[in-house]
Symmetry: C2
Subunit: 383 residues, 2 copies
């Protein structure tokens, strides 16, 4: 059995005074110090990053990390657009399943705010299909198209979607590492400018800097010495067609469905067992689709369900969503996001989520998506 022993994240936000290396170093040192681990006890590192190559001609970061940390171990760099963190985590899980008595760090990091929003948006668009890029589509445009299709088919509205962002900003107000700590109202969302109809600024995750790291181990003596730990029951990655036009249904993310089915099957759990989940809300519509495709809500019901506020901290429901603030309020440094999601579940399942702690939590789920759904990673964790 693989255990998750600790989690550290930098603050997410516009961290102009910090370089990518600074962020990586803070996260690695933070997670090692927190667990009182000597770096020599680390057998491998899995590193997630999407944009350093495109934005700052910075490749081969695995070796840069080897120099930073001063270790001669395998360090793997993985890229799967905004699902890079989840992909790295699932590979680390594989590594531990293949090798006994090992301890690894999984770290995700991204530095996005040193460039103009246009440069960063164009770099992010590199994760879409060539045809979509040539048509001038950004990810706001792609998710806008999904939202319009969903609205027409199921009668959901912009006001329905606004509930996602209001909830996630409320959660962000409780998370000191979140990029946005301000609570917002439905009107704040509805009055924000359109980015790609029907999605508005306040439906959209921001551009962020940040790094997050977790320690995974199957070394029993290290696990026993750890002050707390949770178990990784399953981590499944699935890819799907990159382009929206090739999908049978633009109102679902098939990769999420398949990955979720496989993860629930491997972990021998039912949907009703999950108490906390971090899902990929890069845009408000994405959280609605996620809850449906993960099997928590029926397809088409999400627009109505979100207005019941049942997934909000403090509600009496069995399932609270995105207590970190989600991508919307916690921020979305793309390589880090998948690790931060898993880390938030770690905090909840170990009782370390402070003022946003959900009561009676036993099982948690993290859901990380790349692009418009070409990649999805679903990870299930148990206290």
């Amino acid at each position: 059995m693989i255990s998750l022993l600790d989690y550290y994240t930098t603050k997410f936000g516009e961290l102009w005074e910090k370089s990518l290396s600074d962020l990586i170093q803070e996260a690695v040192n933070g997670v090692l110090k927190s667990n009182k681990l000597n770096k020599k006890q680390i057998d491998a590192i899995f590193f997630a990053n999407m944009l350093a190559g495109v934005l700052e001609n910075n490749l081969h970061i695995s070796a840069k990390l080897a120099e930073l940390i001063g270790l001669n171990i395998p360090i793997y760099r993985v890229e799967a657009a905004c699902a890079s963190g989840g992909a790295a985590f699932s590979l680390a899980n594989n590594y531990l399943n293949a090798n006994s008595n090992k301890t690894v760090i999984v770290i995700g990091a991204e530095k996005m705010t040193d460039y103009s929003p246009e440069e960063t948006t164009q770099a992010l668009a590199g994760a879409a299909s060539g045809e979509e890029q040539e048509a001038g589509l950004t990810f706001s445009g792609l998710y806008g198209m999904m939202a319009n299709f969903y609205f027409e088919k199921y009668g959901c509205s912009e006001e329905n979607l606004a509930y996602v962002s209001v909830k996630n900003h409320f959660h962000g107000s409780l998370n000191e590492k979140a990029q946005f700590r301000n609570k917002i109202t439905i009107d704040d969302v509805l009055q924000s400018p359109y980015v790609a109809h029907p999605l508005k600024v306040m439906d959209s995750a921001p551009i962020s800097d940040g790094a997050s790291a977790v320690i995974l181990s199957n070394n029993q003596s290290i696990i026993k010495k750890s002050k707390c730990s949770i178990k990784v029951l399953s981590s499944q990655m699935i890819n799907d067609t990159i382009s929206l036009k090739s999908r049978k249904r633009p109102d679902e993310i098939l990769a999420t469905k398949i990955a979720a089915d496989k993860a629930f099957q491997e972990s021998k759990l039912e949907r009703i067992d999950i108490n906390v989940a971090e899902v990929h809300d890069c845009f408000s519509i994405a959280e609605i689709l996620a809850l449906e495709d993960l099997g928590f809500w029926e397809k088409g019901q999400g627009g109505k369900k979100i207005t019941e506020n049942s997934t909000r901290w403090g509600s009496n429901s069995r399932l609270i969503i995105n207590t970190s603030g989600g991508l919307k309020a916690a921020g979305h440094p793309v390589g880090a996001t998948g690790i931060k999601q898993i880390g938030e579940i770690f905090l909840q399942l170990t009782g370390h989520a402070t003022n946003r702690q959900v009561k009676k939590v036993r099982y948690g789920l993290a859901h990380n998506v790349g692009g418009s759904g070409g990649t999805a990673v679903v990870t299930i964790l148990a206290s």
Copy 2:
């Protein structure tokens, strides 16, 4: 036990009529067709690429590959500079050690010649440390510094190094997939222009396009149906400091030494057991260092040893090096190189190396390096 069932490579060279997608599709289709495998028998794909993000803003290629091949499976993209192929292979090996009855494709691809040599050289320099980049150092410069240090310490000369390129061009003349099929002389090398003293054009691997793929499996029924197969005894990746100045010894690649020791230990073989090896000759000096650091030759003896022509096809020695033509003559599409090296060993160990077949081969080794030695992967294979 993990078996390698088949290998396909596109021709390497200046393939202006083919896009990165074309190359990937040719390699995937080629390796599936060669083994009469249905694509539905593939459980995962490991994809190596270094430069598509920097050169053509092309990221999230895993999902693009999912669309190309029409499968909903996990597809992992790995980047470790020029060792991306080896890194992907070692992760695929881990995946199979963690999961039984699985079959995977490992593919490496790179498209480098659609850009000016200056653009491609600058993109490649992204794999060096920030400080080295700011100092204007390219990889020719870094390996040039290593060569000068080696010359001064051990008395090796430019003429000694020339033997590496002459041998590898001779091998390339026997390989129909090689970028360069022309035999060259010591004088051809010595009279070629300097790139970074003492390294000349003819000491240096070219800029290339190409894609290579292998099939790995631990599914016994698929292995039994395969017309031939070899065994993966070990595949070890190790990282080291990115910058030359941080190394204790600039005359060795420490990552190669550690990875080789681990690979020989796991495979329970001695150096003398290896009959064919593909080593990372991005520059002629790199092949000399590789043979020493892998433990085949004593440190400092390589300059003299190479002039004996013992590693050349047709010699009576136990160990023939770079029968594919190496990076120098076969070409160096960086993401593909690590896979092509392993594929060449497959051809040799299965008796499919046609006019460059080495006799009585039982064990082979592939050695893939990233940057100036920040990453090394050593893979040992058995017939």
